[in-house]
C-alpha cells in the first residue's frame, strides 16, 4: 500500500513510529473490551506541537535529537497520527475512500462505563471520539498511545441517546461528532505539563495536530491508559470472565512496567496486592487533589481518572486558587461532586473494585454494600489521613526529613494545626452560593497560601505572634468583604491557636534536630516562598492563557509554542527541592505574550 511505503521511507531515526500502527495487545487479550475500526489518512493536518522530552523517554526519537520539527519528523508524525476512522456511518452510506489512504491495521475504541450514558452497564459507552494508536516499548517500559478527535465512534453519548450513527465532523452535533477542538488540546497540554512537573500523575500530550476550522487531534501517552471504568463495565454486566481477563492484562502490564513489587506467586496474592495497591493509590491521590486544590470529577463510574490516579480528560479538571470546597461543575444535565466529595467517590471506586475481586474469586457477584466497611475502606481512610498530615507539613515548608520527625513524634500537634488551618481554609462569604459560567460555588474568604508564605518571615523578624488584625490582612482573599472578616472572639481564638500550633511545630523540629527556631524559620521562609508562591495557575487562568496563545498561534512556530509552554511550566514549579535557574524571558522573543500570561495568572489566581 502507498501509505505503508510512505512510512517506510522514514526508516532509521524514526523507526519506532512504525510500531504505532493500531495494533494493541488489549484487543487480542480482551477482544470484548473494544470496537475495532479501520482508519484512513486525514489530510490538511499541521503539527503544531510535539513533546520532544516525552518522545525521547518513549524512545520515539533518539536522545540527541534536536528540538526542532524537521520536514522528515513532521511527515512521520502526520503519517502516524493524522488519521480518521472509517465508522459505521461511512460503511452504512457506502462512502468510498481511496485505497491508498486506508491504513492496513484496525484501531480500537475501548469500552468503559460513563455516567452520562443512558445505559448504566457500559454496553454503549467508551471512547466516543478517540482511538488507541498502539504501544511503544522502550527501556523496559511500555507506553500506551491514544488520540482524541479521530472521528465519531459508536460509543459516543450522541449515538447512544439518538440511536443513530454520525458522520465524523457532523456539524449538527458537537461532542458526538468525533472531532475535538484545538483549544481542548492546548488546555490539556498546558494543564498536564504543569501538573506533571509538580509530581501529579497525568496523561501527557505527545503531539497536537491542527486542522482547518479549529479542529485538532490530541495524541496522548501514558504508561497505562486503563481507567477504573474499563473494569466496572464488566462488574455491572456480571461478566467475571472478561473482568478477570482485563484485570490479569492490567497486572501483567504493571509488572512489566515495574510499577508493582515482585511478581505475585498465586492468584490470591495477586488480587490482594492489586487491592492493596489501588487502595493506597486512590487514597494518596485524593488527599493530594484536596490539598493541592485539584478538582477532578470522580464519580461511581470510575471515569476521568487512570488506574494509577493519573488525570485523563481535562474537560472538567480545575486547579483552584483557594479551597473552593463548594464548587460544582455544571455538565448540562448534572452537577459534579465537590472537591471534598472526591474522597467519598474514590472510596466507592475502591469498594467497587473489592466487589469485582470478590466476584472473580467467588464466581458470584455480591451486593456492593457488603464491601462498605471492609478492610480496604479502612486502609483507604488510614492512608488518606497519613497523606493529609504529610501534605499540610509539606505546605508549611518542612522538608521530608522534618515531616517524618513530626509525624512520628508530634502527630497530635500536627492534627491540631490541621484543624486550625482547616477552619480558615473553609471559611465562606456571607453572600452565599453564586452561579458561575461553568458551575456553582460559594466563595471562600481566606487565601491560606498567602499566610503560609508570609508567616515564617514575619516570625523571623519579631520572633513572636503577629496580631489577629495582621493575620486577617495577609490571609484575606479578594472575595471577602469587611463583614466576612469580622474579628469575633471565636476567630481570634482560632488565630491564636493557629499560631500557637505553628510555633509548637517549629520548636519541636528545632529541638529534635538540635538547631534554633530561627534557623528552622529561615529554611521555611525559603521553601514556603516557592511552595506557596503568588503566581499559581487556576483552571480559569489556563482557559484564558489558551485563548491568548490561540490568538497568536497562526503566527507561532511549533518551537515557539514549545518555548511558551516551557516558560509556563517553569513558572509553575512549586517544588523547592527542584529549582532550576531563572529564565531571562524578557529578552526572548514573544515576551509580550509571556507578560500577558503572567498577568492572566495573577488576575485569576484566586479563581476556579
Amino acid at each position: 500500500m502507498k501509505n505503508a511505503t510512505s512510512i517506510n521511507v522514514n526508516k532509521g531515526m524514526y523507526d519506532k513510529f512504525c510500531q504505532v500502527n493500531g495494533i494493541h495487545p488489549l484487543a487480542s487479550k480482551v477482544p470484548d473490551s473494544c470496537v475495532l475500526y479501520q482508519a484512513r489518512k486525514r489530510k490538511n493536518g499541521k503539527v503544531t506541537y510535539f513533546n520532544f522530552n516525552l518522545a525521547k523517554s518513549m524512545g520515539l526519537i533518539p536522545e540527541d535529537h534536536q528540538e526542532k520539527i524537521t520536514n522528515e519528523l513532521d511527515q512521520i508524525i502526520l503519517d502516524t497520527f493524522s488519521i480518521i476512522i472509517i465508522n459505521e456511518y461511512d460503511i452504512n452510506h457506502k462512502i468510498k475512500f481511496k485505497e491508498e489512504e486506508i491504513l492496513p491495521n484496525k484501531y480500537m475504541a475501548t469500552r468503559y462505563l460513563q455516567l452520562q450514558h443512558p445505559n448504566k452497564q457500559g454496553k454503549t459507552s467508551g471512547d466516543g471520539r478517540s482511538i488507541w494508536n498502539g504501544t511503544i516499548h522502550h527501556m523496559g517500559k511500555v507506553w500506551d498511545i491514544s488520540s482524541c478527535g479521530t472521528g465519531a465512534t459508536c460509543l459516543s453519548p450522541a449515538t447512544s441517546i439518538n440511536n443513530k450513527f454520525y458522520q465524523s465532523g457532523d456539524p449538527s452535533i458537537s461532542y458526538g461528532c468525533g472531532f475535538s477542538e484545538i483549544d481542548e488540546g492546548y488546555n490539556t497540554l498546558f494543564f498536564s505539563e504543569i501538573l506533571k512537573k509538580n509530581g501529579i500523575e497525568t496523561e501527557q500530550v505527545l503531539a497536537l495536530i491542527r486542522y482547518p476550522n479549529g479542529m485538532s487531534i490530541t495524541v496522548r501517552a501514558h504508561s497505562n491508559l486503563l481507567r477504573p471504568s474499563h473494569f466496572f463495565r464488566y462488574i455491572k454486566q456480571g461478566d467475571d470472565k472478561n473482568l478477570k481477563k482485563l484485570l490479569d492484562y492490567y497486572v501483567d502490564r504493571e509488572i512489566e512496567n515495574k510499577s508493582w513489587g515482585p511478581k505475585p506467586t498465586s492468584e490470591k496474592e495477586k488480587y490482594n496486592q492489586f487491592m492493596h495497591n489501588i487502595t493506597k493509590t486512590f487514597a494518596r491521590t485524593t488527599a493530594t487533589f484536596e490539598d493541592e486544590y485539584i478538582f477532578c470529577w470522580l464519580d461511581w463510574d470510575g471515569d476521568n481518572i487512570l488506574m494509577d490516579g493519573g488525570i485523563i480528560d481535562y474537560g472538567s479538571v480545575r486547579q483552584f486558587g483557594l479551597f473552593h470546597h463548594n464548587y460544582r461543575f455544571d455538565d448540562d444535565a448534572r452537577f459534579s461532586t465537590t472537591i471534598t466529595e472526591q474522597k467519598l467517590k474514590a472510596k466507592y471506586i475502591i469498594q467497587t473494585f473489592a466487589q469485582g475481586i470478590d466476584f472473580i474469586l467467588s464466581k458470584s457477584k455480591k451486593k456492593i454494600n457488603i464491601f462498605k466497611h471492609d478492610k480496604y475502606q479502612k486502609l483507604f481512610d488510614q492512608t488518606f489521613k497519613q497523606y493529609k498530615n504529610r501534605n499540610i507539613l509539606k505546605k508549611i515548608g518542612f522538608n521530608s526529613n522534618q515531616q517524618d520527625i513530626l509525624l512520628e513524634h508530634n502527630l497530635k500537634d500536627v492534627l491540631k494545626f490541621r484543624n486550625a488551618f482547616s477552619y480558615f481554609e473553609k471559611a465562606k462569604t456571607k453572600e452565599g452560593p453564586a452561579k458561575l459560567p461553568d458551575g456553582i460555588t460559594w466563595s471562600v474568604i481566606f487565601c491560606m497560601r498567602d499566610i503560609l508564605r508570609e508567616l515564617p518571615q514575619l516570625y523571623l523578624c519579631d520572633e513572636k505572634n503577629i496580631l489577629p488584625e495582621e493575620f486577617i490582612d495577609i490571609a484575606k482573599s479578594s472575595y471577602a468583604t469587611e463583614d466576612d472578616l469580622y474579628l469575633n472572639s471565636y476567630r481570634q481564638e482560632k488565630i491564636n491557636l493557629f499560631q500557637h500550633q505553628y510555633w509548637k511545630l517549629i520548636r519541636a523540629i528545632a529541638e529534635k534536630t538540635n538547631t534554633t527556631p530561627n534557623k528552622v524559620l529561615i529554611e521555611l521562609t525559603m521553601r514556603s516562598s516557592v511552595i506557596n508562591k503568588y503566581y499559581r495557575v487556576t483552571g480559569d487562568a489556563i482557559g484564558n492563557i489558551v485563548d491568548t496563545v490561540l490568538k497568536q498561534s497562526p503566527r507561532l512556530a511549533p518551537e515557539e509554542l514549545e518555548d511558551l509552554l516551557h516558560f509556563i511550566v517553569h513558572q509553575q514549579q512549586f517544588n523547592p527541592d527542584d529549582i532550576s535557574s531563572v529564565i531571562e524571558h524578557k529578552k526572548h522573543e514573544n515576551y509580550k505574550i509571556k507578560n500577558r500570561i503572567l498577568t492572566l495568572v495573577k488576575d485569576f489566581r484566586e479563581g476556579i
Partner: protein, 221 residues
Amino acid sequence: MKLVFYSSGEPKDNLELDKIMLSQMAPTDPQITFIPSESSESEIHFQNFIKQYQKLGVQHFIHMPIDIPIHETMINKAFQGDIIHLSGGNTYYFLHHLKRSNLLGKLKKFVASGGILAGTSAGGIIMTPSITTAGFPTFDCDDNYISLKNLTAMSLVNFEFFPHYKKSKRYDQELASYSKKSRLPLLACPDGTGVIINGDVSMVCGKLSCFYQGKKINFKY
C-alpha cells in the same frame, strides 16, 4: 544617609561591599528587606539572597514584591527593618511599580531616618536622579517594554550610576558621549564593584570609572 550601590555579579564578588555595609553601617543582628524588581520568579532570587547574607550572619529577612497587591502588614514590617535592598532587573518596570505602589516616598523617608538603602544594578540606578542610564549602551540596555515616559527617580545622590560596565572602546564611546550632555557625573561600575555612602563619607569599592563632560577618570579602592 546610608546608601550602597552594587553593580552586580556573583555573591563572592560583592563580599567586600557586603562586609562594609554590615560591619560599618548596620546594627548587630539586622533585618534586611528584599524588594525584587518583579514578583515573577522573585522567590528564586530571594532564596539566593538569603543564602548570600545568611553566611554573613544575617538572620531576619523580608521579601516584598511590589508589582502585586501588598499587604499593609508586610509594608510595615518591611520598613521596620534596618536594610532595604532593591534588586536588579528591568529598571523601567521596577521604577514604574515603585511609583505605582507609592513606595518611593516611603523609601526616601526610610533613608532620611537612618535606614540603609542598597541597590543592585536597576535598584542602584533607581536611587539616582533619573534612570536614563538604563537605556544605553544600545547593544546592552534594558528594554522599555512598558513605554515608561517619566524617568525621574529618587534623587538620593548627585551622580548617575551605570552598572555592568566593561572596559572597552564601544562602552567608553557611548558613556563619554552621554556625559557631554549630562550635568551630573556618571559612575560606571564593573560587576563586583560599587559605591558606598555613609553619612559624609563616600567610598568606592573596586576599580571603577567616572565619565564627566566627555572625559573618563578612573578610581580604585
